[in-house]
């Protein structure tokens, strides 16, 4: 992976990217190990909650209710945040959000001089808008302070998971990155040990100096609380607290979907999120703060929230896809997904990988950039089962597939797309039982040239042409039996007129099964 951001506008199709990644056995091993561990932990702490399904139901309903009145709650948040001394900015799209953040950072320095460094908390929203690139272009270096994000940044890599962005790397790969890239005056990282403890200690040393020195921080937000104007961030390492507490200026970038109505609603979200995300009863640190503390100074003196749309209103407008916005970014669907487990996150060509990425990316980006993603699923439903806010991801995937087909069917493409033609033709076949019968016969004829008999006299197909060849790469296909079920059933009726319930039935005649 290169250092350039995962960008659905330039990423290869899922199938193409997946093919390459499946060949990387180290990556697959790392991904498999990590997803297994989190899944097991999650199952344990979810299992000890007899009211888990009630929490999920409430979580979903709170999110749905919020979306139904999103304008109201955003304005309420804005009002309360401002009253508490915070500043609220609005951005229609990624470009506006980047400009706003860069502008605030530039103005945050002492004596009107732009700072050259900021510290950052892991944030999918700032990854989504490729904020670091924009800051870099303005001469501002952003230090990622989450351990996994630091690994990604120093390794010129890309995040592959919402919660554990570096799960595709193992300890020796991380050690190599740190030895090569970590530079701190007076500290020699070149003979760094290889245990996770050694590596975490190195990150502590490397970053502590930044935490104590850098005066401007950028974060995302887990929840915006409309009722109080407060913001909640959930984390583990304490890097979040460092960024939220020590700098003089804090900028939090949040999608407009991040709002919850009340402080009380956190009692649902703070139970659902940690158990789903990391398999903990509660993550080590949750920070909740409201504007800037004027009475008893605590934390930054300037606080900014950037409320960003960036296509979220388009998802909101699509009733069958709106539930996508319920997402609280726990990553449970990624861990549970058998497709993600095979490919890891990079195949999805977007910072949002896995099942949630397969529905979020095509909607956040223009659909034609990500047409392959809604098909990157076997629709097994494991994602829906673990989703803490009950997003029916398979249903949204199917809905998005329909949109893809409509795009592909538009205009001339229909005539050159074999899949569209084939599926439309088959649909016509099923509309008439007579045509279906004829095509069953023709299908059997068509198979003749491709089939070979095995030892038991059963025909098998070991090679198929064109796109169907994907099947026969590793699987054989049994040929159609001589008689269809319906032929047998009709024949049987003729052989034994007046048959009634309870009559003896002849033994099913074997055809080689």
């Amino acid at each position: 992976m290169s250092g350039t951001a995962l960008d659905p506008t330039t990423a290869p199709k899922f199938q193409v990217a997946a093919k390459a990644l499946i060949g990387d056995s180290q990556l697959r091993k790392n991904v498999r190990h990590a997803t297994k561990v989190i899944q097991t932990k999650r199952a344990k702490v979810v299992g000890e909650m007899p009211d888990w399904e009630d929490l999920r139901e409430s979580g979903m309903q709170i999110r749905q209710h919020t979306m139904r009145h999103l304008d109201y709650y955003l304005e309420q948040f804005e009002r309360n945040c401002r009253a508490a001394g915070g500043e609220v900015h609005w951005a229609r799209n990624a470009e506006e959000a980047r400009q706003i953040v860069v502008g605030i950072v530039q103005a945050s320095g002492a004596e009107g001089k732009s700072p050259t460094e900021v510290i950052k908390i892991k944030s999918m929203t700032t990854e989504e808008i490729q904020l670091n690139k924009a800051l870099e272009a303005a001469g501002i270096h952003a230090y990622e302070t989450d351990l996994a994000e630091l690994i990604i940044q120093l390794g010129h890599d890309q995040p592959s998971h919402i919660v554990v962005p570096a799960l595709h790397k193992n300890r020796s790969q991380i050690r190599e990155i740190f030895r090569r890239e970590m530079k701190l005056p007076g500290v020699d990282f070149s003979n760094l040990g290889g245990t996770p403890q050694d590596l975490a200690d190195a990150a502590r040393r490397f970053l502590r100096e930044k935490f104590l020195r850098v005066k401007t921080a950028v974060s995302g937000a887990n929840f915006l609380i409309a009722e109080t104007g407060g913001v909640c961030i959930v984390e583990s390492e304490g890097n979040g607290r460092m960024c939220l507490t020590l700098p003089e200026t804090l900028i939090s970038v949040a999608g407009i979907d991040k709002v919850v109505p009340t402080f009380q609603d956190l009692e649902v979200m703070l139970q659902l999120l940690p158990r789903s995300a990391t398999g903990e009863r509660m993550n080590p640190y949750n920070s909740i703060w409201t504007g800037v503390d004027k009475v008893s100074p605590d934390g930054p003196r300037a606080f900014h929230v950037v409320l960003m749309d960036n296509a979220r209103t388009e998802i909101l407008a699509d009733e069958e896809a709106r539930q996508t916005l319920n997402c609280i970014r726990c990553g449970a669907c990624q861990n549970a997904c058998p497709v993600y487990q095979q490919t890891g996150g990079h195949a999805y060509g977007s910072v949002y990988a896995g099942p949630i990425g397969a529905i979020l990316t095509p909607q956040l980006m223009e659909m034609h950039h990500a047409q392959s993603l809604p098909y990157a699923s076997s629709l097994c439903g494991a994602c829906y089962e673990v989703c803490p806010v009950k997003i029916n991801i398979p249903e949204v995937l199917i809905h998005l597939r329909n949109k893809v087909v409509k795009q592909q069917s538009a205009g001339l493409k229909l005539l050159v797309n074999p899949e569209v033609m084939a599926l439309k033709a088959v649909a016509l076949v099923f509309r008439s039982e007579g045509v279906f019968r004829v095509s069953q016969k023709l299908g059997r004829l068509g198979e003749l040239a491709l089939s070979r008999k095995d030892g038991q006299g059963v025909g098998w197909i070991e090679w198929l042409p064109g796109m169907l060849g994907g099947w026969t790469r590793v699987r054989d296909l049994r040929v159609m039996p001589k008689q269809t079920f319906r032929q047998w059933f009709e024949q049987r009726g003729k052989d034994a007129p007046g048959r009634r319930a309870g009559d003896a039935v002849e033994k099913a005649d074997g055809d080689g099964r």
């Binding site: 087909v405 099923f430 049994r478 269809t484």
Partner: protein, 244 residues
């Protein structure tokens, strides 16, 4: 009871033995089986691949064929899941109030074969004999959409002579996913390889399940690798009798 069999398009064409077995089991239990001749396909392949407009007429056809049924039974978890999960929405899309009402009335009478036995008829032992080492594959739609739970396992445990072995990662998808197996052949193959390893680790002679599409997928790889392990629909095991 008069049971109307919805065989499904692919069972009709590719797996007639499964349909015959369903008929045998149901008749052995004293029920009458009829087969509405105009039936074709539930529309799942089209609906799930994104060709939703093409699937809509198949809903009408299904309702026309089965509207008077006392019970509809089908040996396919994914087709029944398709109906239960999407038919109400499809009727909504067609903006046809009469159809909507008919779908609402019909769906509770539609059963996946194993659920019909365990839930509708309340049976576990259907008098079968199958002296083989068998492992059971839980199809995703049965597991997560229809919630068949351990119903199929209960039916299998009651089979005389059977040596039932549980597969590791029972709840893991085999990688079929309809057109997914074609469109994302590499990923599908990787998922399949894991499932096949699980099957082989059980040292079973046969792998069974409630859906021939998964079994065709798993069986295709078992055959390619010349493992000798054969896929058998659960209906065929339940239809087998001593001395048969």
């Amino acid at each position: 009871m008069r049971v109307s069999l919805f065989i499904t398009c692919y069972n009709d064409t590719l797996f007639p033995e499964t349909g015959k077995a369903v008929v045998r089991v149901l008749e052995r239990l004293g029920h009458t089986v009829d087969f509405p001749a105009g039936q074709t396909c539930c529309g799942q392949m089209h609906w799930n691949t994104g060709y939703q407009e093409e699937a809509l007429p198949l809903l009408r056809r299904f309702v026309e064929q089965f509207r008077h049924a006392e019970a509809v039974v089908s040996p396919s978890t994914s087709c029944i899941a398709m109906m239960k999960d999407h038919y109400p929405l499809m009727a909504e899309r067609l903006k046809d109030e009469k159809l909507k009402a008919e779908v609402a009335a019909l769906l509770p009478k539609v059963w996946e074969f194993s659920q019909f036995l365990t839930q509708k008829l309340g049976l576990e032992d259907v008098g079968a004999y199958y002296p083989h080492r068998v492992t059971y594959h839980a199809s995703c739609h049965g597991l997560r959409s229809l919630h068949v739970g351990d119903g199929p396992m209960k039916l299998l445990r009651a089979v005389r002579g059977i040596d039932l072995v549980e597969i590791e990662n029972l709840e893991q998808c085999c990688g079929f996913g309809g057109t997914f197996a074609i469109k994302n052949a590499e990923v599908s193959s990787a998922m399949l390889a894991e499932k096949v390893r699980g099957v082989l680790n059980t040292r079973a002679e046969a792998v069974t399940g409630c859906d021939n599409s998964c079994l065709m997928h798993i069986g295709g790889a078992l055959h390619r690798e010349r493992t000798g392990v054969r896929p058998v629909h659960i209906a065929e095991i339940l239809a087998s009798e001593e001395g048969g």
